[in-house]
Symmetry: C2
Subunit: 474 residues, 2 copies
């Protein structure tokens, strides 16, 4: 594996637009997700939704609008979200009595409903999941990574005890890891956020952090153990087995269209996207190559036959029949779009009953693959590419994770390579801020198991119980 | 078939809440769609999305917010939608330079993008579909039928000619009919809207109108041939085969969560919902019946075995293990919730290797059905129920469609029976208004083929080329 940084200066928006995933919209900070990009989101939804339902969480839908007063009910929450809210002040031609906030997240309105629906310990655990759009008025936006409006799922659960809530938050973190590793071919680092990086209103925030090909880190998903703060603010009480009233313990967890940003920047190379087969809208693109009309007819019908064969096996494929551009231009275009497997069919291939195959991830070419059992061969190749991309992302993270014990070293290493640095930290927020100010790196996670216990804080030299993972993030 | 009106005074919101489909929200005119209701929407989406994709239309996503100036670009459109808009005036703590409208429908922003994407006749037909939430500030709201926020799909296509656009609008009308009849078991009347009932900005509006059990009519979906009005307002031009610039011809078409209202009111009886099997989240509910712990164990494990057997056949089923209420209470609850088939399992049934089955649509009970091949029997029954509900809705419409030739007769018939009246109308908007004012009925559709040509207008006696369908609508 190549340890040099790939495309350190890639422009994500530029790449997303060229590859046909998205386009700029006339609304500040909002993008248009074009069919090729949205098809990736649909595959993400299908895979993740099935996993969420397996956990027993059902989907529901709550209003887009939240009364302003609701947002203000949980102290930490208002502090975190008020500055980012878009506010509806007028509707139906009149000024509203109470302004409505366009949901930046739905804890407040969902927990208002929970307080109506939850009465007894028999109702617990209680859960819902919602696929929805949310709006956060961000200052600097970037396609897929941080847009004013984005699409996501947010799950919410209520429990009898803190232990049960924490177990659920950790379970959903595991579900996200399973999904990201098997479907997105990403190997995020998982752990807990520091107090200053927690979700506004959470007791604990767990996070999945992906190391991208440019050496930067992306928070790809979070799962929060919310404690009882929201339960108290929204009066969600239940009668326990001893007939006493208690507040529930809540969790919430979400991932968004940011995952598409993680896929793009987690796998791309200098030719463009590399889509993992499990989320590739087109897994195999079939390209006819011919010089005259006679060849064209023969080649086209052969390509169509191949596609039919792949379709039967459930492989998402397409023949590029466009006769306005050359095969070479098509190779470049489908490489840019990240299609995992390219199948070239020329007149000689038809005569010899073979095809030529090119892997997008390695760009390696295999000539003269016999047609017999081609579908199974493509299927096997897609699985191999999927696994190989995951392994590559895992290796990338491991090769770019370094122990650093001197403060000055942080900038040196990060400027050169990016990646994760394992540093000792004593737990002081002041020292955490100093790291951020002087290195632009943040503490991405505290590991679940102590690493190298009994060291000295990289900032102050004070006693440290574990190393934490720092890095520069999007 | 009973020709009397079923439940003329049913309160839809009351029914939806009792059946667990939805709940009131703290936001004016917005409801919460609960898991049981949302599961119906998911089944609708799955079935309809597949049909839309079969037509070659891919999904995309456009911003929730639309600049106010966009809405104002198409004259008829602004007139229709401006009074219903919710407007974001502040965001990120500041007043916006230009207010943003929360989309009431997305023609304007989608066609703005079309003008960037469409260049040549080679790009046509061009199409996208979007599943999204929209907001219309309605004065009087009603769960599922008319809510401030609702969920829908909106498809948009661009064509070279008016003929092609009209053909597409008609094709999507057919797709909706196919979907509603086969999946929702509804038999809507289809036809064209009058000028005064057209979509704001459309050249022609085609509609599907369902006759509900209460005798009222519901517009369940529409498909618009938009002509070139929006294309001119948003400058969507293409180079034709003669290298001349032309404006495209557009269509748009949509159905919404209102379909759930159509399902409820189209099929219900005085015991509650009757869900067509193809959109029933639970198709078969299995109810254990026992008197003591020994029986309970035996019965429960038998119920579980039945569920496993049904699951293998893809039947959505559930065992109601709740031991807090009696079997009788469960029968009532699942009748209210409209589950198509109930399976009763008592200790004697277990011993005799049989079950008892109750159909929700007819409430008929069949005892002692042998367990051998139960899954196939349930499957066959579900198909029968699905077909029978469609036939019932079709008969209902046919039996409640009457020719009326005297203006005074309109109120008499509608007061008594509701339904569709076929009346002669000369085409004058003034006479159309008179019908509405004096009978509360509106012209629901003009039929595609003239009916009974050469009559006299029911209002004025002027020459009429065809009968039209009028009725009182939600």
């Amino acid at each position: 594996m190549n340890n040099a940084l790939a495309n350190p200066n890639v422009d994500l928006s530029d790449l997303a637009i060229k590859a046909g995933l998205a386009d700029y919209s006339p609304v500040r900070g909002c993008m248009v997700i074009k069919p090729y990009g949205y098809a990736i989101w649909e595959l993400i939804q299908k895979e993740l939704d099935a996993r969420i339902k397996e956990c027993g969480h059902e989907n529901a839908y709550f209003p887009l609008f939240i009364p302003q007063s609701f947002i203000n009910k949980e102290e930490d929450h208002i502090e975190g979200f008020a500055p980012e809210c878009a506010v509806v002040t007028h509707a139906g031609g009149e000024k509203l009595e109470e302004p409505l906030v366009v949901r930046p997240t739905s804890e407040t309105i969902i927990y208002h409903m929970f307080s109506k629906w939850i009465q007894s310990w028999r109702d617990l655990p209680y859960s819902v999941n919602q696929w929805a759009n949310v709006v956060r008025w961000e200052m600097r936006t970037r396609m897929f990574l941080r847009t004013t409006e984005f699409l996501w799922q947010e799950g919410h659960t209520a429990h009898e005890s803190a232990e049960n809530a924490d177990r659920e938050a950790r379970r959903m973190l595991d579900v996200y890891y399973d999904f990201m590793s098997k479907v997105l071919a990403l190997a995020p680092l998982v752990g807990e956020k520091t107090d200053s990086e927690r979700f506004a209103g959470a007791h604990k925030t767990y996070s999945l952090e992906v190391l991208l090909r440019d050496g930067k880190i992306l928070q790809a998903g979070t799962s929060h153990h919310l404690g009882q703060g929201f339960a108290k603010a929204f009066d969600i009480q239940f009668q326990n087995k001893n007939n006493e009233l208690e507040y529930v313990h809540l969790t919430s967890w979400g991932v968004s269209t940011r995952l598409i940003g993680a896929i793009i920047l987690g796998h791309q190379d200098d030719k463009g996207l590399i889509l993992p087969p499990n989320v590739a809208p087109i897994q195999a693109i079939i390209i006819p190559i011919y010089k005259n009309e006679e060849q064209k007819e023969k080649v086209h019908s052969n390509c169509q036959a191949i596609q039919n064969e792949l379709k039967v096996l459930g492989i998402r494929s397409k023949v590029d029949f466009n006769d306005q551009i050359t095969p070479g231009a098509k190779f470049n275009e489908w490489e840019l779009k990240g299609v995992p497997v390219r199948i070239h069919v020329g007149p000689r291939d038809v005569d010899n009953n073979v095809v030529e195959i090119v892997r997008r991830d390695t760009l390696s070419k295999i000539k003269d693959i016999t047609r017999l059992g081609l579908g199974e061969k493509i299927n096997a190749l897609l699985i191999e590419i999927q696994n190989s991309l995951y392994q590559r992302n895992l290796n990338w993270r491991e090769e770019n994770t370094h122990e650093v014990d001197s403060f000055d070293e942080i900038n040196k290493v990060l400027d050169k390579k990016g990646g994760f640095l394992k540093v000792h930290w004593c737990g002081s927020q002041e020292h955490e801020s100093k790291i951020k100010e002087q290195t632009k790196a943040t503490i991405r996670i505290k590991p679940f198991e102590k690493i190298d216990g009994g060291g000295k804080c990289i900032v102050s030299g004070a006693p440290s119980k574990t190393r934490v993972f720092i890095g520069r993030a999007y």
